[in-house]
Every structure is written in structure tokens, then in C-alpha cells.
Subunit: 285 residues, 3 copies
């Protein structure tokens, strides 16, 4: 079988932008409870991104609490940025709880590749079939076993270079895979969505990428039990977040004011604006 990227043809039957409105509205009205197990650097920013979006964040990353909490939460994020021993055990417990209860969950394999503890944990957790996997190209390549990963948290490969690795992960684990970069790529192994929105300032704010994983969990939380696919929810979250980043950049004089403006814009940007600003391409195999 040839690689997915060779078989893709443009599709005009599916508009991600139009899927954003109902999901965003539901996040804002229902305030889904999002369980975050995330790294020590971005906890506050991630919680603020969720609150600004309309969701209710909760960081429950200790043993004997994370499993039961994942079962009652609307969505779960497991981010491996600073996986201390207690948090590793809590992540395993949370994934088991989410799986048992059917809670959608997102795996963010931060900086895997050369670092052995998180790499082993990422391979272990991905086998539990996350609803979605979010990372930069280097991380997705490393998770697919193709590369030793980047030099840390920043991508040294492009999302398109990771397209086949993403599709392979998607097929193998039944996950939607989102690769962040200048153009974001989202795939379920059969369809590929390219989102050209965003702003370089997102890479100058710590947690700019990590927080998107939490927004995906929120969108998955409200999509659960509806006819909206995981692919659609993940792509809609990415589109929402990157268009908001463009809005914020218009108010920013640098990375400090950008991060502040991003939180304001997450709370105020309308679905209508998302539709107008969207630069999305959809391909099918």
C-alpha cells in the first residue's frame, strides 16, 4: 500500500469551519469539566486557556484520585512534559479510568524521542488508544518510531513531513493525530485536514501548543455522544485556536501582550469570525 500522502485528493464536501459554531457554543454553554494532567511549566496557562474558552479545568494528577476523576470528567488531557513519578502513575490511572468510562482523551507526547522516561511512557499510553494525539512533527515522528525526535520542545521537522507517520499512528491506534506547525495537519488515516491559520507568536509563549491539547479535550468532551466525529472535533479545536491566535496577534506588541490578548480573544471570538478567517484544506484518500 502506498503512503497516504500519495493517495490524497482534495475534497469539497466537508467544511471544518462550519463545524466550529455548534461545538464552540456548546463548550461556552455547558462548561465541560476537563481533566488535565500536564507539565509543571504550563499548568496555569492551560487552565486559563480552558477558562477563557468556556470550559472548567481541573488538574488532578495524584494516585488514587486521577482514575475516578477521569471517569466523571468530560475530557482528559495527558501531557508528558514533566513526568515525575507520581504523575506518571496518575497518568496511567487516569487513562484506565477514561477508557473504562468512555471519556475522550488526548495524548501530548512532549519532547519524546531521546528522553527515555517519557518516551517509554508515551509508547505505553498510545497503546491504550487515545482519542487524539497532539504534537509537533518531531514528536509524531518519534511516536511512530521513525525519528529519534527533536532537541526538545520545538519542532525541527514540518507537519507535512510527518503526514505519513501521523496517518500510520492514526490507523494503528484508532486515534486522530494532530501535528502542529506553520500549517497544522489533522488526520484520521483516511482524511487529512490542513489548517493554515495561526501566528508565529504562539511559539513564543510557553504552553502555546500544550494548551491546544486541552482545547481539543474540551471540544471532544462536547462532541461525545453526538454525530460529530473525533476528526471534526479535533480539527475544529485547532481551527478555533489558531484563528484566535491571529486575532490576538493584531493586539500584540510582543509575546507578553500576545499571551494576554490570546486569553481575551478565546473568550470573545465568534464562530462567524472563525468561518470568515478559516484557511482550511481537506483531502481524502
Amino acid at each position: 500500500m502506498s503512503a497516504l500522502s500519495d493517495r490524497l485528493r482534495p475534497s469539497s464536501t466537508f467544511s471544518v469551519a462550519e463545524e466550529v459554531a455548534p461545538l464552540l457554543e456548546q463548550v461556552r454553554s455547558d462548561s465541560p469539566l476537563i481533566h488535565c494532567i500536564t507539565n509543571a511549566v504550563v499548568t496555569g496557562f492551560t487552565a486559563n486557556v480552558l477558562l477563557a474558552t468556556g470550559a472548567a479545568p481541573a488538574m488532578v494528577d495524584i494516585v488514587d484520585e486521577s482514575g475516578m476523576f477521569a471517569a466523571v470528567a468530560s475530557g482528559l488531557l495527558v501531557n508528558l512534559g514533566t513526568p515525575a513519578p507520581e504523575q506518571r502513575a496518575a497518568a496511567r490511572e487516569a487513562v484506565a479510568g477514561a477508557t473504562e468510562a468512555g471519556t475522550p482523551w488526548v495524548l501530548d507526547p512532549v519532547a519524546i524521542g531521546a528522553l527515555p522516561v517519557r518516551t517509554a511512557l508515551a509508547h505505553e499510553l498510545v497503546a491504550e488508544r487515545p482519542s487524539a494525539i497532539r504534537g509537533n512533527a518531531s514528536e509524531i515522528l518519534a511516536l511512530a518510531g521513525i525519528s529519534a525526535g527533536g532537541r526538545g520542545v520545538d519542532a525541527t521537522d514540518t507537519p507535512d513531513a510527518a503526514a505519513d507517520a501521523a496517518a500510520s499512528l492514526a490507523e494503528r491506534f484508532g486515534s486522530v493525530v494532530a501535528v502542529s506547525g506553520v500549517v497544522d495537519l489533522v488526520t484520521d488515516g483516511e482524511r487529512v485536514i490542513r489548517i493554515a491559520n495561526g501566528d508565529a507568536l504562539l511559539t513564543r509563549v510557553t504552553g502555546g501548543g500544550c494548551a491546544l491539547g486541552a482545547v481539543m479535550a474540551a471540544f471532544l468532551g462536547v462532541a461525545r455522544g453526538t454525530s460529530v466525529s473525533t476528526l471534526t472535533a479535533v480539527a475544529a479545536a485547532s481551527l478555533f485556536y489558531t484563528v484566535v491566535a491571529e486575532q490576538a496577534a493584531t493586539q500584540a506588541a510582543g509575546p507578553g501582550t500576545f499571551a494576554v490578548a490570546l486569553l481575551d480573544a478565546l473568550s470573545s471570538t465568534t464562530a462567524e469570525h472563525i468561518v470568515r478567517a478559516a484557511r482550511v484544506e481537506v483531502f481524502v484518500a
Copy 2:
């Protein structure tokens, strides 16, 4: 004996607003050292709130340091938001050190109820008779044994619904109990203070409530050894913080700019403004 809420009558002999000036002035001039054991999401914001108010924050949450530090600090906050094992042990040690030295301390039983580890720890620590307990209505009800708690960090009950639970906790443990909500409620079991100041944006910033617990510890720190009661200091801290939030909201375009403006306003708001803006009712049994 009937519930406290049935026996209350309005009082005009006591003005919380006029008590704010000397306490705020003393925090700003003395810079009391406030020992924080708090959750991983809000550490930075809490420290910044204390610094902006005029206090000196220090996060000392490891075993073999927290006990001795609580003994020399002016005030202590124990917040149970992310109680990892080392932090649980450090919290116990800090409470013992504070009790031995007479350091006033505040317990914030974040998200207790259904989550077993923090719930057990909250019940253990409250028996050590904190100077003050701060929480939302669901948490106060859960600590009083009346409810299984909310779905996490956000309140699903109103402060007034928790008034009798708060009074019961106050009587049982000799603590002043502060219940955060649209109208905040502070009680020592005999008097009830209702503070109608504040802004909904406080609930859209992570740590908006947690940081108030730290401000209470600062006000308790400067009130210690004076004729100012614990009830007065806790209510004055709540009034100060919620009026400042109103000030900040006038400068805010959303949750991002609000959090920034809150820090500015904590540092600049005058006691005279607090008196003018206060919307406080006092009741006695």
C-alpha cells in the same frame, strides 16, 4: 438550637470597610512573610497577588523545611488543589509548626467531596483548628459533612446555602469560615458578614479564588497580636480583594487583561476607595 441563619439580625455597630485601611497599610509597610503550600496550577499567580498586595510570598512545600518555616512566617496558606505525597507530608508539618508557634493559617479544601485523598487530608487538617477556612459553597458543605461536594473546583451551591454549614464548622473548630460566591459570606459562628462586591471575571482566571486565601493569610499575619479579630481580618481581606476585582474589571477586555489589571489594582487601590465601594451587610445572632 435553631440554625444560625434563622437567628440572625442586622447589625450596624461594625463596619468591615473601615477596618481595611489599617490592615492594608500594615501589609504594605511591613511586607509580612506568607508561607504558601498551594496547588501547582496557581503558584505563580498566588505569589504575584501577594507581591502586588505588598506581602512577601514563599512557597516552602517540602518535608524538613515546611515546619520550621511556618513557625517563622507571619501567615500560612494550605491549599489542597494538587496534593502530591511530598506536599501532603509538608502540609502536615507546616500546620504543626504554625500551631506550635501561633502562626495564623488558612485552609483551602479545594475540590473536596468525591476525591478521597484530599478529602481525608482536609478532614485531618481542619481538626488542627485553622484560623480560617476558605472555599466555595460545595467545598464548605463537603467539609461540614453535608454534601459530597461539587464536580471539581467550581461551586454548584451558593454561599447562602452553605451558611449553616459554615457556622457549624466555625463553632466546631474555632475557625472563621469564608464562602466565596456571587455574594461572599464570612462567619465566626456568631456573626455573619455578606460581601456583595466582586466580578464574574474572577471565576474566569485560574487561582482567582485560591489567591484570596493567601491574601487572608497576609491580613491575618498583620492582625496577629493586635485587637483586630480573625473575623475582621478575614472579612477585610475578602472586601479588599473583591473591590479590587471590580476596579480591575473596569480595565479589562476579557479574562487575560483582567488578570493583569487585578495585579495592578492590588498594588494601587486605596483604602478610601474600598470604603466608598463596599457593599457589606453584617448580621449577629
Copy 3:
């Protein structure tokens, strides 16, 4: 031998300000990977300061990852603000990895003196000969064995009062020692640089000092393998950071807006402006 401070004479042969330009340009173009092991309060702010400056931060503070990561990073910061057991072990591992690989590293002995766990660790780590040591005067005095330290994270002594202690540490461990205060002092034991730039608002933002240690690691990272001395790189980092703080203060209405403006200014301030604004004195023994 008389104390260093008695033997100093002004020098006009060395301009710190003119050394800033090439180092800053190289940080911005090379984006050196800076390994941070730092306290739980300031992780996000520290990462954002590094990103705004142009470096790539990574917090790797777990056992079995920190040693190998320190070996590939361009620079390492070890800050002892909240040294939980896992982080203590990871710090030892990182220092060993950095030493083996020749990675420059900065030790920030936060609040040492009375607190026994961090004090013992600081004395253990300083014996591994950090490239630079950064602290307030109380911390430097305590590390030199002269004082029991301040009451926590804020200095109760002035940098000039710690000049001889700093020089003694510099000679004993081959480290450049930077003492933060109203006038910063940087010494290698033979030369003393006094930097009068900065703004009091830096002391009202948590991590205002801690993040400077990370910026020093970034400047040391790009200076490595060049003819630029450790003294020059550390002084240039201090000068850059404190002039940027002055720039930020002109945009600030309080500590909230100051922290935001600081991140913007870290990203936009030019080397030319640093030269114009520098208030630096250099002395030689």
C-alpha cells in the same frame, strides 16, 4: 591578603555594554536550548522570559532524563526554590551531566541559610563548580558561610555588603558570582562589575530574579567555545535584563502590566539601546 573590596580600582579598559550586542544577536539567531531545573512558582515565567529573549527553554527535572539532557543543552539553570526529592536527585544528575559535557551552568541558591534541605544541597552543588552563581546578598552571604541567610526569598542585605563573600566564592569555586539588588554586582574574584540599571518593579513580580539566572545560562550558552569570558557573559546578561526592565517600567501601571511589558521588551529591545542606557562601573584588583 586584604579583602577584594579594599583593593579595587576603577577600570576603563572594558565595556560590558559593548559586549551585549554580539551575545544577544547570537541568542536571537541560534535559539540556544536552555535546560531549566527551577522552582514550581516561576516555571512558566522563566520559560516565557527565555522564549522572549530568543532562547528555547526546556524543563527536564526528573531522574534518568536530566543528566543526558544537560549534556546536550547549551546551558543549564539549577534553581533551588522548591527542591522536592525527585528534583533534588534530578539536579544532581543534571550537574554531573553538565560537568561531563562542559555545559555551562548557573546555580541559584534560593532562600538558603536557615532552611536545611536546600542549604545542604546548595553547598553540595557549589562544590561541583558552577559557571555562575546568582542570588541576592543574603543568599550569597549564606553560601559563603558568613550569614544564616535572609527570611526567605527577598534580600535583607545589599550586594555591596556581599562583595567580599562573592569574591571569596568566586575564587574558591572558579565561578562568576552575581549578586542582585538595587545595584547588581558581578565578580570573578579579580574584577567587580556594578550595574545600576533595573527597576523596583522587578521585585514585585515573582520570578523577576529567578528568570535572570535562566538568561545568564542562555548568554553563557552562546559564549561557550568563544573568546568571551564567563564574567562578560554573566554581566552582559544582567545588563541586558535590567535595562529591559527599565524599558518595561515605562509601559507599566503596576506589577501586572510590568510583567507583560517585560516579556515584550525582552523580545524587542535593541543592543544599541542597551549601550545608551547602561550604567556600569568596572573595577579591577
